[in-house]
Symmetry: C2
Subunit: 511 residues, 2 copies
């Protein structure tokens, strides 16, 4: 990914929105499994455990649902994972829970969506996790990622509307094959997958009776929310831990830039942050590396130890601020404190020898998001200078557009998402024309700023948790889960139960 070489502050912030989990500056060496710090749900990568969780299947999917030119008829193999251990079966019209896959390898999301596995026995539900086209193994153009990602002629078929139509056709076909046309489908998703789940319920209400859309920032588009919400929430997350912590991070950008300018400063920075020897270090790259740590930690500020983006302790933002506030460093130097905090995100297992600022590894196969962010996912993110923990920056559609022209020779369509899915006056629109959606948001999650935070109707419900982070509700439960998290999941179960029961009642009226 060439962008790390075109780094500057403005661009950096315009890139915030490029990925929910942007990988271009995540630059660290994380040991692979197993590790004593890794939780049970994090050990799922071992083949035997995976085999117990799901079977892998493929569906022959059409390349283009909306056109009929010859190339639209091309097909590809779309991966989905299935678990029928708990399913009550077609005869009982037992439900089907479908995860609408996000911008990455579906196995990763599946392994981080323990909620569905844990609730399947209660609901006698069939579990299906569908991979998003152009991610993981679901690669058009003969399964060849190199070809699929070659240029805009092939990447052009990577879009949210195509993905939703994929889900609809796959689900319908699967139900037919299982003779389970009367089994109600509930869709689940987190983050972009949550947006897809919500949109799926809105657009394909004949396929899914309801959606649990967790941390789905469906309002994070042009003119709908302030571009500052995201960075404001990260700021608030750290500031809520300690004013000193906030001030140290806020002041760090100037410190790093001034240090970099000094004779021997770059070497000092390199040493302070244990940057690998082969890295050409610059202030911008280092700042990006730190910002990634603060942002991802804010997003995944879970109340229990976790390993979603990286192995981390419970309440990692608090831990970071403790490191900044309390760590004893050589000469009490600020750089050392910042390093100690960043270390919690990049090296909680303590095995990293050095950090590569330019690490391009993409273990979860998230790279396609950059294309989506260059076409339809124009989610403005900005940092204002007064209060923000981040350097001042100005969101610029022009910058995004230039980048996309440069990288893909493509022009974004910034108004498409709101044209296709709405967003303006969402409360009065959905109240009259939709139902059965749960929007979960945790307010410590910076993406919650673009979420639906108020109940819209009796059946379009916003579950909002002050202490929650990015789709925490969907994670495997642990013994240490706080009460509010248990309550959220209990509410979700109750609501989903009511949808299913209503569906069965409705169905009885027409049979």
């Amino acid at each position: 990914m060439a962008i790390i070489f075109h780094y500057n502050k403005t661009l950096l912030f315009s890139l915030f929105s490029l990925l929910f989990f942007f990988t271009f500056s995540s630059s660290h060496i994380i040991p692979k499994f197993p590790s004593p710090l890794i939780r049970p749900e994090q050990q799922l990568n071992s083949a035997s455990v995976k085999n117990k969780l799901y079977r892998t299947k493929f569906y022959t999917q059409i390349l283009d649902h909306f056109n009929y030119n010859p190339q639209s008829y091309q097909t590809f193999q779309q991966r989905y994972l299935i678990n029928d251990t708990y399913w009550g079966g077609a005869k009982k019209k037992a439900p089907i829970f479908v995860y609408t896959g996000n911008e990455g390898n579906i196995e990763w999301f599946t392994q981080n969506t323990g909620f569905m596995f844990e609730k399947a026995p209660y609901f006698n539900a069939l579990l299906v996790f569908i991979e998003h086209r152009f991610y993981g193994k679901s690669m058009p153009f003969g399964g060849n990622k190199k070809v699929a990602y070659a240029n805009s002629s092939t990447l052009g078929y990577l879009s949210s509307t195509q993905a939703l139509a994929d889900y609809a056709t796959l689900i319908i076909d699967l139900k037919n094959n299982l003779s389970a046309t009367d089994s109600p489908v509930v869709v689940f998703g987190g983050s972009y997958g949550g947006m897809l789940a919500a949109w799926f319920r809105m657009k394909y209400s004949h396929v899914a009776i309801g959606a649990l859309a967790s941390s789905a920032p469906i309002l994070h588009f042009m003119d709908l929310v302030s571009p500052y919400v995201f960075t404001n929430i990260v700021t608030q997350d750290f500031r809520s831990e300690s004013e000193h912590c906030y001030n140290v991070i806020k002041g760090s950008w100037k410190l790093i830039e001034e240090t970099a300018k000094k004779h021997g400063g770059l070497e000092l920075l390199k040493k302070s942050f244990r940057i690998c020897n082969n890295n050409d270090i610059g202030a911008g790259a280092l700042e990006g590396w730190l910002q990634t740590a603060w942002i991802y930690t804010a997003m995944t500020d879970y109340p229990t130890p976790s390993n979603f983006l990286s192995p981390m302790p419970a309440y990692p933002v608090k831990k970071m601020c403790e490191a900044i506030d309390n760590s004893v460093t050589e000469n009490n130097h600020t750089l050392g404190k910042l390093y100690a905090a960043a270390n919690i995100y990049y090296n909680y297992t303590g095995t990293a020898k050095c950090f590569d600022l330019y690490d391009n590894s993409d273990p979860h196969d998230l790279g396609g998001w950059q294309w989506q962010a260059c076409t339809e996912m124009i989610m403005p993110l900005d940092s204002n200078n007064k209060e923000s923990i981040f350097p001042e920056s100005e969101w610029s559609y022009k910058d995004r557009s230039s980048y996309c022209k440069f990288e893909y020779n493509v022009v974004p369509r910034p108004n498409w998402i709101t044209s296709e899915f709405g967003g303006h006056d969402i409360e009065i629109v959905l109240k009259r024309s939709a139902s059965n959606i749960i929007f979960f948001n945790g307010l410590r999650d910076p993406w919650s700023g673009g979420g639906v935070l108020k109940n819209i109707s009796k059946s379009i419900v916003a579950l909002v948790e002050k202490e929650g982070a990015h789709h925490v509700d969907l994670r495997f439960s642990t013994k240490e889960d706080p009460k509010w998290l248990k309550d959220v999941r209990r509410q979700e179960v109750k609501i989903i139960e009511s949808w299913i029961s209503q569906y069965h009642q409705d169905l009885a009226t027409i049979i």
Copy 2:
């Protein structure tokens, strides 16, 4: 259109569904306006009247909304007609009534949708009639129909989903330009335009607050209704006038085929039906010509004289049966009676000298429907032999598919429409996830068999009229309109009024 040369009974019936108004065997010389028989609403083609009705505008529309490959960025000029004479304006949040154009020249549909013009003053509504891509003047590929219709590579972009997205983007842009984002939009449509209106409300509920879907057979798809409903209704229409009339038409196919086999029989048929001299006549072509007359007359069996498909008297089915039952012909010959009946459809103005069975003229530019019927609009139509007024036939998806392969080298996607828009269990689906749709159907209209005929909820209402024909409610009113028709329109106005009032109340809660 090559299909008229591949005529056989089975194929004929499989072609019933090729067009709402299939043109391939409508073969008559109709005088152009003015004519003493033509009603006021039918004189709209004169330039001065048209100028009063609407102004013509064009919108730069994107070729492909759902993909981002280079060709998807091509644009074309989409025509729309606008009338702001009665509009209350953006400040008053006065409504915008949008007709979602069908498979033809938008001027034709506009001129046959007097309801919108007549009700605009009451609602202070802006009127907009949008032409469907690939029809009329809304031709992609540089406005060049020859290129646009050249083959499946260009025709591929003709699809219902693209059309709906066209409507959404055009309406949103228009509202922005008029600073009228708060003006509620109500969509209207008849026949395929009615299907689009209903689907638009379902899929773009953030753009339109409600839809009047008149004679919209959204259920006329694979596995949803019996393929016999259409021909059964035509049968019933004629049979309800007289058993003798029904028996004569029902017996005519055998009569024609036997006559054709006799020495001199083809000449006799040609003479009896005043077929033009240059026509090579065969029994199949003649039967198709007659079936067109019976079907179109059943569809447009309006209670007042009209000129939608052809100039016709009030209650033309009754008139046809009167011709069959009572007309005095040479030797009381059945062929003469059939001719007299067909004459009501093909030559009510009495000026035709002869009839061209192979007339390919397409004055309303409906030809693109054939492509749509070869890709997504797979609406099975069949005739069973027991009761049907038509020859026995068997609906065959295989025949359709072969034809489409032959004609366009394209494979239909018979399940796409129900995958994308639903249809199964529609009553329980829409009850929970949609609102504000009026489905009007007249039971004399053969397309009503695929319509929504029962109320689904308080706000998804079926208006069903025993005496009604194809979107009769949308036509200009006349002094002779029967009470039931006036009542239907009154109900429609009342319901639309309630949507607008509800919208304004909703809006007030968030401002």
